[in-house]
Symmetry: C2
Subunit: 185 residues, 2 copies
């Protein structure tokens, strides 16, 4: 398949740090560190998906468990939803929800081809990661779209940064499963 | 087994935020958010380990793959190493490395009993998480113990916070695998 669209240059992060002065620079270190952890797991998933052909994508991660194909669509749909949740724009692929989020694997027949899911995965993560990298540090401490003003006032840790971090863990959770479907060695 | 030692009160985080003034408060929001993500995955692992008896711990996460028992010891050893790496103290259980870090699963005979690994898991994470919660925000941006001064000068994202975040993803990676060994439902 074609090279994936989201290879980030570390210089993007460095530029952002050095172009601002004083305290903002320090704040950017916190959010850039979180973004790097996100990019690491996305890159790991990219490498695993790229190493598998469409037939291998249909493997279950363990007997009777989700197929890699389902998890690729699931992660794409979850990350697509982060665009509005973090105030970064409209969703790109809401059509994935039925097959990969609302329903468990194999409840519906496969309606989206593997190549389309691969492209959606790359497109969504490229768009999302670029938008996140452009978000000023202080914006990360604002509330995310799925919490009310009242609840956020009670708990300021329900911020956008928390969403990034729990989604990074979630991506890692499924990366660990997908790893089991790869040939050993 | 006995209740686990590391149930954190959110009030600990809140107290830390409100007790300081001005900019430090904002900086604590970044690090407290990262700590909450860590605690979430540790709690998730606690619940999975507590739900399994010693026989269930011996299940493989997928055919021919690591046993849950091995992953519990592996995560304990990796987290134990964070104590010196983050400048938070001496290791508690270096004796786990041989069986759970240096060697792959089943290369050596099981020399540590499941109950001992359960206790080490709880002890290490309780000690580590308490020490991390007490670390002032600015300390998180300092270099970790496995990077040289020179390399850190080139790349300030090789800080302690990055270690916390990549280890959170790592814990999530294995949590996803362990989840496969639980009874479905």
């Amino acid at each position: 398949m074609a090279p994936l669209g989201h290879k980030w240059r570390d210089s993007e992060l460095s530029n952002r740090r050095t172009r601002k002065q004083g305290n903002v620079t320090t704040e950017a270190l916190y959010t850039d560190t979180a973004l790097r952890a996100w990019k690491l797991v996305i890159t790991q998933l990219d490498q695993m998906f790229s190493s598998m052909n469409d037939e291998e994508l249909r493997r279950e991660v363990a007997p009777g468990r989700n197929r890699v194909f389902y998890l690729m669509g699931h992660l794409t749909a979850v990350h697509d939803r982060l665009l509005p949740m973090l105030g970064l724009g409209e969703r790109l692929h809401p059509e994935l929800d039925d097959d990969f989020l609302t329903n468990a694997d194999r409840v519906t027949a496969d309606r989206v081809a593997p190549e389309a899911v691969r492209l959606a995965w790359s497109e969504v993560n490229a768009r999302l990661t670029a938008a996140m990298a452009a978000l000023p540090p202080e914006e990360w401490l604002k509330k995310h779209g799925a919490v009310s003003d009242e609840d956020f006032a009670k708990d300021p840790l329900r911020n956008r940064l928390a969403v990034l971090q729990t989604r990074t863990t979630h991506a890692g959770f499924h990366a660990g499963q997908i790893r089991l479907a790869l040939t050993k060695g």
